[in-house]
């Protein structure tokens, strides 16, 4: 450990003298300009329709948090295979758990108020989900981001994602264009299952949270096994 401490100090001393080579631009004026533009657009959108202003702000904040935390759905599924790291996987599981609790609250209160249709997307489930997810997973690892990650990296200035978005939009448009055909041939007759309606609210919600907890624990164990080093 003495080797480590001494070499770290040497590295830091060297780093300080080395780091003066590049001048960093002051980004505060850009930040002020961007905030002003965001505010103006938000006010204009809100004037068109109040919900648009809200979704605008949510989108901006979501992207900001995504970028600052370096949260990555792609890495959450790729890293366990590639490097054995599951910290992002665990983060995604936590996000699912929060969404489970939140949507349970939204849907349950809607049902209590006597809503005819349960809020949220409840789509037909079947083998097509697994196939589509696998295709998307392969694509997102190669493209360097999923939907949110691609948009976030476009904002960061990565040219690769500006190209990836073209593929994303092209594929989505093509799929939307042929959606009727896909639906008729593959999932029109698949059931759209809303678990709380089938299993009852307590079993569905707490069962899902328990399952997510188990997955979290498994992810933790997996990482420990993959990354134990021989010291």
């Amino acid at each position: 450990m003495a080797v480590g401490a001494a070499s770290k100090a040497a590295v830091q001393a060297g780093a300080r003298t080395r780091a003066g080579s590049k001048v960093k631009r002051n980004q505060v004026p850009y930040a002020v300009a961007v905030i002003a533009v965001v505010a103006v657009i938000g006010i204009w959108l809100g004037g068109q329709k109040p919900v648009l202003g809200l979704t605008w702000i949510f989108g901006i904040l979501f992207g900001f948090v995504l970028q600052r935390s370096r949260f990555c759905f792609t890495a959450s599924l790729r890293d366990p295979v590639l490097t054995g790291s599951t910290s992002l996987t665990k983060g995604v599981i936590i996000a699912f758990a929060v969404a489970t609790a939140g949507f349970a609250a939204i849907q349950y209160s809607a049902v209590l108020k006597g809503a005819e249709k349960i809020p949220g997307f409840i789509s037909p489930v079947g083998i097509h989900i697994a196939i589509g997810a696998t295709m998307f997973g392969i694509g997102m690892v190669i493209a360097g981001g999923c939907a949110s990650g691609t948009l976030m990296r476009m904002g960061e200035g990565f040219a690769m994602q500006w190209i990836a978005i073209i593929g994303f939009m092209g594929g989505s448009l093509w799929g939307a264009h042929d959606f009727g055909w896909w639906s008729a041939h593959f999932f029109q007759n698949s059931p759209a299952i809303h678990l709380p309606s089938v299993l009852g609210w307590p079993v569905a919600v707490f069962g899902q949270l328990l399952l997510l907890g188990i997955l979290y624990w498994l992810a933790d164990r997996y990482e420990q096994k993959r990354t134990t080093f021989l010291s």
């Binding site: 450990m1 080797v3 480590g4 070499s7 770290k8 040497a10 590295v11 830091q12 780093a15 080395r18 780091a19 080579s21 590049k22 001048v23 960093k24 631009r25 980004q27 970028q67 370096r70 990555c72 890495a75 790729r78 890293d79 590639l82 490097t83 790291s85 910290s87 360097g144 960061e156 200035g157 990565f158 690769m160 990354t227 080093f229 010291s231």
Partner: protein, 75 residues
């Protein structure tokens, strides 16, 4: 106590991490690996990986969106 530089400018994640992993295996104990990257994902996942392996890590932003990651192979 040698220093090895690994230039990963222009490479998207996970390439810098994979290259750093491979390179670290070839280093002697006490050597330092300096990973140069301009990808913000690598700025996060390379130090995380190195710390999990038990190495000392130092991170320096040397320019707008350019980082140098110092990893000391202490064991």
């Amino acid at each position: 106590m040698a220093e090895h530089r690994l230039d990963c400018y222009g490479e998207a994640c996970p390439i810098p991490l994979l290259k750093a992993e491979k390179k670290m295996k070839t280093l002697a104990v006490g050597d330092t690996l300096v990973v140069l990257t301009d990808h913000s994902c690598a700025m996060k996942n390379v130090p995380d990986w190195a710390r999990k392996q038990g190495y000392d890590v130092d991170l320096e932003e040397t320019g707008d969106g350019e980082w140098e990651i110092y990893i000391i192979k202490n064991h």
